[in-house]
Homo-oligomer: 122 residues x 2
C-alpha cells in the first residue's frame, strides 16, 4: 500500500504549521472548513493520527480529554491552564522562570512515553 500525496494531507499539515497554540482535530477541521476547503472531519482525524504514528507530529493530552497536536517534535515543557485549557510552550529557562512568576502553578506531571519491558519482547 503505497502512500499517496493528497490535497487534504497537505492542507492539514500546513494548517498545523501556522499554529503556535496546540489545536485539536476539530479546530483544524473547522478552520479549514471556514477557509472553504473541501475536507471531511473523519479525514482530519485520520490524517492527524497517521502523522503521529509516522512520528511527524506529537499528541498532547491534558485533563480535557481531547487530543491536541504539536508539530514541534523536540521535548519541551507545556504549561496547561486549568481554567481556560490553553496550552503554552515554555521553550527555554526564561519562559519557565516567567511562567513560575506570572502564573499560579498548582502541580506538574512529567510523562515519559515508550515501550515497557513487558511489551518489548512480544
Amino acid at each position: 500500500m503505497n502512500k499517496r500525496d493528497t490535497k487534504q494531507k497537505q492542507i492539514v499539515y500546513e494548517a498545523l504549521l501556522e499554529h503556535k497554540d496546540h489545536p485539536t482535530s476539530l479546530e483544524i477541521y473547522e478552520e479549514l472548513k471556514n477557509k472553504g476547503a473541501r475536507i471531511g472531519k473523519t479525514t482530519v482525524y485520520r490524517i492527524l493520527n497517521n502523522l503521529v504514528q509516522e512520528d511527524k507530529l506529537r499528541r498532547i493530552n491534558t485533563f480535557d480529554n481531547v487530543s491536541h497536536y504539536d508539530y514541534v517534535l523536540d521535548d519541551h515543557i507545556h504549561f496547561v491552564c486549568e481554567k481556560c485549557n490553553k496550552i503554552y510552550d515554555l521553550k527555554n529557562t526564561n519562559d519557565l522562570k516567567d511562567a513560575l512568576e506570572e502564573m499560579d502553578v498548582s502541580h506538574n506531571n512529567l510523562l515519559i512515553y515508550g515501550i515497557c519491558s513487558d511489551c518489548k519482547g512480544g
Copy 2:
C-alpha cells in the same frame, strides 16, 4: 451546602488507595460492583471529579484519552507504555535509570498545571 459523608465516597477512595496502578473511573466502578457494592457509575465519576477538585486526588491524562487517577499528590514521573497503555511510577533516580535502560523511551512530555496570567485576574 454542607458536604455529607456517604458510604460511596468512602469505598471509592478506599478502592483507590489499594491500587498501585492508576485506575480509571470505570475500573474503580467495576471493581466495586464485582465486590457487590451498591454504587452507580455516575456516582464514581462524580466522586472522583470532586476529589480532584478538592486536591485530594490527581488526574493523569495520557494518549488514551481516558482519565486515570493517582492518590499520590507529590509530583513524580510516570512512564506511559505506548503499547499496553499501562502507567508506571518512577519514584526515584534508580527507578528512572532502570526505566531508561530496560524500556524503549520514545519521548517525554512535562506538563506544568496551573492558572495562566490571563485567567488570574478574572
